[in-house]
């Protein structure tokens, strides 16, 4: 049985310790929330980081977008991802632990009216790659699972797609796959394939 920490507002695995988005606005706030949950250094086998789950439900064209909306959609999710990775570095078991980001694949495929959110998701995915390169020496893997926006929002879709609980199970599998790091796996029902 793996110990799992979810740094972000998402239901990905039962029995996981969850720190909500609101606590990831800064490292200090996150540390306080983690302390309240009794999280200890190096105690998690898997740290899951959902990115921009709260931001992708509402289309937001760039034309006319006010600055507060821009910050909320593009900059704030990236700050949360940074905070989450900083926390993950301390909390994931080393060696042997795994960090898995779950991102909507909007920034890889391009989706109209989600440009601000695409900035956040791709920025976070790049940070995961950077972390993977460095944390490899500590025996920590860092990978990303990319999903369709509808898997997160629950919006009607013409394609059958894996439920978020299945994504959580895939993350557990990735945590066991010690030889892969810095990669992105699309788990969107087969729509997008790696180039």
């Amino acid at each position: 049985m793996k110990t799992v920490l979810v740094l972000g507002s998402a239901t990905l695995l039962p029995d996981a310790v969850v720190i909500e988005d609101a606590a990831l606005v800064s490292k200090a706030a996150a540390d306080a929330a983690l302390a309240a949950k009794g999280a200890k250094t190096g105690s998690f086998d898997l740290v899951l980081i959902p990115v921009a789950f709260s931001e992708i439900a509402t289309p937001a064209p760039i034309a006319g977008m006010i600055e507060a909306r821009w910050k909320a959609l593009a900059e704030d999710p990236l700050v949360r991802a940074r905070t989450a990775l900083q926390c993950a570095s301390e909390l994931v078991r080393a060696p042997g632990g795994a960090v898995v980001l779950v991102v909507p694949e909007i920034g890889m495929t391009g989706v109209a009216q989600l440009a601000a959110q695409s900035m956040a998701t791709e920025g976070a995915r790049s940070m995961a790659k950077s972390a993977a390169k460095v944390w490899l020496a500590r025996g920590i893997t860092v990978n990303t699972i990319a999903v369709a926006a509808s898997q997160i929002t629950g919006a009607q879709d013409t394609r059958a797609r894996p439920a978020l609980e299945e994504i959580g199970k895939l993350a557990l599998t990735l945590a066991d796959a010690r030889v892969a790091t810095g990669n992105t796996i699309h788990a969107d029902g087969g729509e997008v394939t790696s180039i």
Binding site: P61, E67, R82, Q86, S89, A120, S126, M127, A131
Partner: protein, 254 residues
């Protein structure tokens, strides 16, 4: 001035040196009217004068991409001077972007400045240019980096901003395609003044970086990076949008 970019009026941010200067010189040589911008007018004017000295159209204005009003004024000044804006290239980067800081040590001031220049600056540039780009069926180009595509051991914040811009490019290309606006990214590796300084400090890095490139050398800002970027400004790239043009001599291949 005749040339493939005779109908192009382009504003380039961060164009006082390096890749920005190279793109300005190459676009102007292909016939474009070029607005060179930098935070200091003296620095921008030096390159604009260089453009004019070669017999081309160069105009200098100040532009701080972290300030919405400054970006809007640079666009307005360009339209007043050249009659229109058909392209904007956002090339400016924060001076802090080349300072190595691991993820665990990133603090707010270091982060915020890079976000302001690369990401919020992109948002300001896109909004400020939209009306002109739509009216002229123009193009927006963002400068990204292999550090964003591959991740970066030493510069994770820079990598995040550059990858963020690339995600923005793809989604905005879909959003603005129906308006007739193309949106692309350029990912260069070139011998810039910053790179020259880096090699002076760490000579061993020059051979390592050159060795990564299939062509065995760093790009020239004007002839290698500028001319290829000029292609994205002109009519020959009318069917190209949402793409990243990787100009690395083969050190990184998509």
């Amino acid at each position: 001035m005749a040339g493939p970019l005779a109908d192009v009026s382009v504003l380039i941010t961060g164009a006082s040196q390096g890749v920005g200067r190279g793109m300005a010189l190459a676009a102007a040589a292909a016939g474009a009217a070029v607005t060179v911008t930098a935070r200091r007018i003296e620095a921008a004017e030096k390159v604009a004068a260089e453009v004019r000295a070669r017999g081309h159209k160069g105009f200098a204005v100040t532009c701080d991409v972290t300030n919405r009003a400054s970006v809007e004024k640079a666009v307005a000044d360009t339209v007043q001077h050249f009659g229109k804006l058909t392209a904007l290239i956002h090339n400016a980067v924060s001076a802090k972007s080349s300072i190595p800081v691991p993820i665990e040590k990133i603090e707010d001031d270091y982060w915020d400045e890079q976000i302001a220049v690369a990401l919020r600056g992109t948002y300001y540039c896109a909004q400020a240019a939209l009306a002109q780009l739509q009216a002229n069926k123009g193009t927006l180009i963002l400068l990204t980096s292999g550090g964003g595509i591959e991740g970066s051991i030493t510069l994770p914040t820079y990598g995040a901003t550059k990858a963020g811009q690339r995600g923005f490019v793809k989604s905005l290309a879909r959003e603005w395609g129906p308006l007739g606006i193309r949106v692309n990214a350029v990912s260069p590796v070139a011998m810039t003044p910053a790179m020259e300084n880096f090699f002076k400090l760490q000579p061993v890095q020059e051979a390592r970086i050159n060795g990564r490139a299939a062509l065995g050398r760093l790009g020239d800002c004007e002839t290698d990076i500028g001319r290829a970027t000029a292609f994205l400004l002109g009519p020959d790239s009318a069917y190209v949008t949402g793409q990243t043009l990787v100009l690395t001599g083969g050190s990184f291949m998509l």
